[in-house]
């Protein structure tokens, strides 16, 4: 059923790096919820696999001394959903992880895989992008850190060198402290679904709660890779956190997004949805940020 040439299993990061050097053509497999399907469809048939699923050191959510939130690349979606650290500091990531597929996929799928596959519709990707996550990679030459926005090279392509594996996703204290966010997944049904469009917004309001101190907006399926709405973010930073601004954001994101026509949805419909989702996600993020201050 599965056409696999060879399977090499690593239990440490060093072993994985050595295996990557020894078998440069091999495909990395973690939970397998993407790779195994591709093998069965014939797309990755007959390939060698390097399994990193047994590297327990890169599994789990922890807090570093400087307040950086570290999510090991092998952490499953269901683990993220129930993590107390995620709930406290970046609750929206748990909510986004909870919208992936169904319970079985969430139990086996990993957040590392969700980013390394370079897919624009990945549910956690737009939220990680919206929170300025940093990707940690380990290779023969040591550890490398890449901002998630430059980690995505193009549809299905990520910045991973041939000797590297992704080991963690870091969210620095200044990127999450004082922020509240909201993610909207737009799908055709409420489970077992890949997003037709997605929008993750987070805000940090001024001390009096009236103005936007920081605003970050990211979209999935609005371009070949997950994107940030930089123009909109800078245009509305410092403005009042109110309905009028929400309407303004709804308009200005149209200059940031570049959705395409596909048989899954038309460009016009996606533009309309991006606009509406940005408005709603912004208003909900503001509401949550205000609520947090009470």
């Amino acid at each position: 059923m599965y056409d696999i040439k060879a399977l090499y299993e690593a239990t440490t990061v060093d072993e994985a790096v050595s295996l990557r050097q020894e078998h440069p053509e091999a495909v990395i497999i973690a939970g397998g919820s993407d790779v195994l399907i591709k093998i069965r469809e014939g797309k990755l048939a007959g390939r060698e696999l390097i399994s990193i699923y047994g590297i327990d050191s890169i599994r789990g959510v922890s807090m570093e001394h400087d307040g950086t939130l570290r999510i090991g690349s092998l952490t499953s979606f269901s683990h993220i959903v129930s993590s107390p650290l995620i709930r406290e500091h970046i609750a929206v990531l748990g909510e986004a992880a909870g919208m992936v597929g169904g319970p079985q996929i969430r139990a086996i799928g990993t957040i590392g895989g969700n980013t390394c596959n370079g897919v624009t519709s990945a549910d956690t990707a737009s939220t990680l992008l919206a929170w300025d996550a940093v990707i940690e990679l380990a290779g023969a030459e040591g550890v490398r850190h890449v901002p998630i926005e430059s980690f995505y090279l193009g549809a299905g392509r990520a910045d991973i060198h041939s000797d590297e594996i992704q080991t963690g996703i870091l969210i620095r204290r200044e990127a999450y402290e004082g922020f509240s966010g909201h993610y909207i997944k737009y799908g055709m049904r409420n489970a077992m679904e890949i997003a037709t469009a997605g929008c993750s917004v987070n805000v940090k309001l001024s001390p009096d709660g009236n103005n936007i101190e920081r605003l970050r907006i990211a979209f999935g399926v609005a371009a070949p890779v997950p994107i940030r709405a930089h123009k909109t973010e800078s245009q509305w930073t410092g403005k009042p956190a109110d309905d009028e601004t929400a309407e303004g954001i709804a308009c200005s994101v149209l200059d940031d997004v570049k959705p395409r026509d596909s048989w899954r949805a038309s460009r016009d419909m996606r533009l309309h949805l991006c606009s509406e989702m940005a408005k709603r996600a912004f208003l909900e993020a503001v509401r949550r940020n205000k609520e947090r201050r009470v």
């Binding site: 055709m188 049904r189 048989w263 949805a265």
Partner: protein, 441 residues
């Protein structure tokens, strides 16, 4: 075609039917085939008439629907009971129709709610369009239990349980003493025409009852040899041969089966097989009420509540009957809102031939599915039953469509009512303005 003048009888009906060949996916049988389509068209149209004339959709249907005593000249099917009013009453009560109808008048804003109704009619089995036949075999074991075989197949609907209940009831043995042969093999199974047209409890019921009554008579004739009691003074109850005049247990069926099998003079294996041709058919009726919430800018429908009320005659197994209805409602929800085969316009290639892109509705897309019944016994049926396999599907899509109409004023004339279709229709109606207008704010 026949659906239209039958549900709302009309003396002046003219229709043209024609077949269209396409280069699309080959069509196969799907639950209720023909009827979900016809009922969607008919009940959408009926709703539009009521709305246009300013009439209440339920009252209008009550006035124009098939009256009690109506007989279809072709099938000879008859509406024996006040089924439509009874099922409508039950549905309205559950969904709180009148109060919601009032509450949802004159809504404005992005998110609006609506309630909708649809009736349906259905036939049980295919007589007189085609032949209907069913056969049953009963073989008694030496402990008084039986092997039951019918050609009608268990396909997950619980048919085997219902057949066993029927056999136990007519033969007079406990349910646990019926061992049904679940796996059908045409080399050894008595002939039945299959699991289609919501026919099995109706048609196999006739074969089972016919077989069980003859078997019972035969068993009592055999029992005479050992009890010396006239067959008409005996009966089978709870697995025993009893004397009806005083209720005394004369012997158990197990004792009888064992005794006759090893009788050195007249050894006999107790068995009966009977084939039955069915030359009647029965109407199955009911309604569906749906309540929706439409998020207009997001082009999304949320189904808030839904109820199907069926008159499927007497129910053999009420829990299985409910499950049957739940499954049909679920398929109706997918049919109404999400299931669509998408084709490449240039090549005609199917684009979504997988269960990710072909959107069956999931548990997360369903509200509680309420199934209720009005049990009017069907006079032509061996056990008072009539069709319930397919009838749960047809009324669901038009009820949801009519609820969306009630919420938004948009009368959709195609399904599934996917976000893509809502986007187009809401744009046309000016309910949303798309990106160009947004830019002008």
């Amino acid at each position: 075609m026949g659906a239209l003048p039958q549900l709302y009888p009309c003396g002046n009906f003219e229709g043209d039917a024609f077949t269209v060949f396409t280069n699309r996916q080959v069509a196969g049988a799907m639950r209720g085939y023909g009827m979900p389509q016809a009922i969607f068209a008919l009940e959408s149209h009926t709703e539009d008439i009521a709305v246009k004339l300013g009439l209440d959709p339920v009252d209008y249907r009550r006035k124009t629907v098939m009256p009690v005593g109506y007989v279809d000249s072709f099938s000879k099917n008859e509406l024996y009971h006040d089924t439509f009013n009874q099922t409508l009453d039950a549905g309205m009560k559950y969904i709180d129709f009148r109060r919601k109808q009032e509450a949802y008048r004159h809504q404005t804003g992005d998110v609006r709610r609506g309630v909708g109704v649809s009736l349906f009619w259905y036939n049980t089995a295919v007589w007189p369009i085609a032949l209907e036949t069913s056969s049953c075999r009963m073989v008694m074991n030496q402990d008084g239990s039986i092997q039951l075989q019918v050609g009608e197949t268990e396909i997950g609907q619980g048919a085997d349980t219902a057949f066993s209940q029927m056999a136990a009831q007519t033969l007079g043995i406990p349910f646990e003493k019926v061992h049904i042969v679940s796996c059908q093999d045409t080399d050894v199974t008595p002939y039945g025409t299959g699991a289609y047209a919501s026919r099995q409890t109706y048609t196999a019921g006739m074969a089972i009852r016919g077989c069980a009554e003859e078997f019972r008579k035969h068993i009592l004739d055999v029992a005479y040899r050992y009890t010396r009691m006239q067959p008409y003074l005996m009966d089978i109850a709870d697995g025993n041969i009893i004397r009806t005049t005083d209720g005394r247990i004369l012997m158990t069926l197990g004792e009888l089966a064992l005794t006759v099998l090893y009788d050195r003079e007249r050894s006999e294996h107790l068995t009966m097989e009977k084939s039955t041709q069915i030359k009647t058919n029965a109407y199955s009726f009911g309604c569906c009420f749906a309540e929706v919430e439409v998020d207009i800018p997001m082009c999304r429908v949320k189904l808030l509540d839904i109820i199907n009320v069926h008159d499927a005659g007497l129910l053999i197994n009420p829990e299985l009957a409910k499950a049957q209805v739940h499954g049909g409602m679920s398929m109706g929800i997918g049919y109404a809102l999400s299931e669509k085969m998408l084709y490449d316009n240039k090549t005609g290639k199917l684009l979504n031939g997988n269960l990710l892109d072909y959107k069956l509705s999931t548990m997360m897309d369903h509200p509680h599915l309420e199934a209720q019944f009005v049990e009017n016994p069907e006079p032509t049926s061996a056990y008072g039953t009539k069709g319930l396999g397919e009838p749960p599907v047809p009324p669901v899509a038009p009820a949801i469509r009519n609820a969306i109409l009630n919420a938004t004023g948009i009368a959709f004339n195609e399904i599934p009512i996917r976000p893509h279709l809502m986007y187009e229709e809401f744009m046309k109606a000016g309910l949303i303005h798309g990106r160009e207008a947004a830019k002008n704010v």
